[in-house]
């Protein structure tokens, strides 16, 4: 019957990828060394620390925040960030009474340039199916319990625009440096499935 990929007559994915890579290399369409660099880029260079730094700056720099909300790609370009899967970028500011959350129901679009590659759960059926129809239920699974007075806006990435949540700065972080602020920004907060809480003793002066 059709389609059982565990059919023992079918080669596994490792062999299939290897065959394709060798064929495309022989045909001069790809350069295996470029694949190495691509992998290294997303394993070591592009990741949620970028989103954390952008967020921290937006928290302390009002003009930057405004530029970020007007043209996300342009603004993060000032910081040396941007590129693939972040060419057209909108930052979605959470505010009192409004919570934003991103999803891609049709595939797994994600703002790589700001967050790196997505976690498995973001690409899986339970999140993709329920984020649009039951966002409050999804958020509860992440430990986020929003009151029914809070409006939840879910952004389904159906086109080439990429969305990132700009979380609210937690109370008790007044006077923190951008580095210290960046350290408390989580990937889930930038997806909209988490909130940022200042750690214990947040109000104390920086050490």
């Amino acid at each position: 019957m059709s389609g059982d990929f565990k059919d023992p007559r079918e080669p596994g994915p490792a062999l299939r990828v290897k065959a394709l890579e060798e064929l495309l290399s022989a045909k001069g369409i790809i350069d295996p060394a470029a694949l190495d660099v691509l992998v290294d880029t997303y394993e070591t260079k592009v990741g949620p620390h970028i989103g954390a730094r952008v967020t921290a700056r937006a928290w302390v720099d009002r003009d930057f925040r405004q530029r970020l909300l007007e043209d996300g790609a342009q603004a993060i370009g000032e910081m040396g960030f941007g590129g693939m899967q972040g060419e057209d970028l909108m930052f979605l500011p959470n505010e009192p009474g409004v919570h934003n959350m991103i999803v891609c129901t049709l595939c797994s679009c994600y703002p790589w340039a700001v967050l790196g590659l997505p976690p498995t759960w973001y690409k899986s059926a339970p999140y993709r199916s329920r984020a649009v129809s039951d966002p409050r239920g999804v958020l509860r699974e992440f430990g986020v319990d929003l009151g029914n007075d809070v409006e939840v806006r879910v952004w389904d990435s159906t086109a080439e625009l990429r969305y990132v949540v700009l979380p609210e700065r937690p109370a008790g972080t007044e006077g923190w440096s951008q580095d210290r602020l960046a350290a408390i920004v989580t990937r889930d907060a930038l997806i909209g499935t988490g909130l940022i809480r200042a750690p214990d003793g947040a109000g104390a002066p920086a050490p």
């Binding site: 064929l23 001069g28 190495d36 992998v39 129901t105 976690p119 329920r130 649009v132 129809s133």
Partner: protein, 231 residues
Amino acid sequence: MNGLHDIGGMHGFGPILRDEHEALFPEHWECRAFALLIAVIASGALSMDEARDGVERMDPLLYLRTIHAGESYYWRWLCATEILLERKGIVTAAERHNSRPGAGNVPAGLALSCLKAEDVPERVARRGSARLGMGAPAQFSVGDRVQARNLHPEGHTRLPRYVRGRTGRIERDHGVFSFPDTSAAGLGPKPQHLYLVRFEAAELWGGEPGPGAVLVDLWDDYLEPSDERDT
């Protein structure tokens, strides 16, 4: 295509399983499948729209295993790459099977440019917008009430089933973009305006426990004017 991939609003997949310590590429082949598709797109052999179309045409059972039963996500990329390179005559099934190039070669007319290792950083960091540098008449303006058309194309589309027939409001005109339905089918970009459309949760799903909305990017061809009154 009304496929399994169009999953927004479905029930029955259980809780969201998270592993905060997962590796980016648990198995080595996954990182190669990832980079391979990106390099093939960079070569000009295929587009993102085509790549998505390829994922949608993989076997539904394997697709479901990658979203629900713990099989690697990169199966989708691998299958899409195979399906599309075969469709375009760039790598045939026989070549894959024999693991060596056949007599034929890359079809004439495809001007491919191999992405070199030294060009990867520039490629990854390139900031050009996906907007097309051309005008097109806009059918709608910000504030307009629109209804998503009840379309059921057999090919690739980015109009999710859950918004079809539902009424929303144009929140933003993103400008002119390539149209995925024609682009993925090799019928050209059909440039047109792309809008951010806001659908109230109650309009999409019926009663909801609190205020909410889903915001979706939709092209002109997906929309028609709505004569529904404001709510």
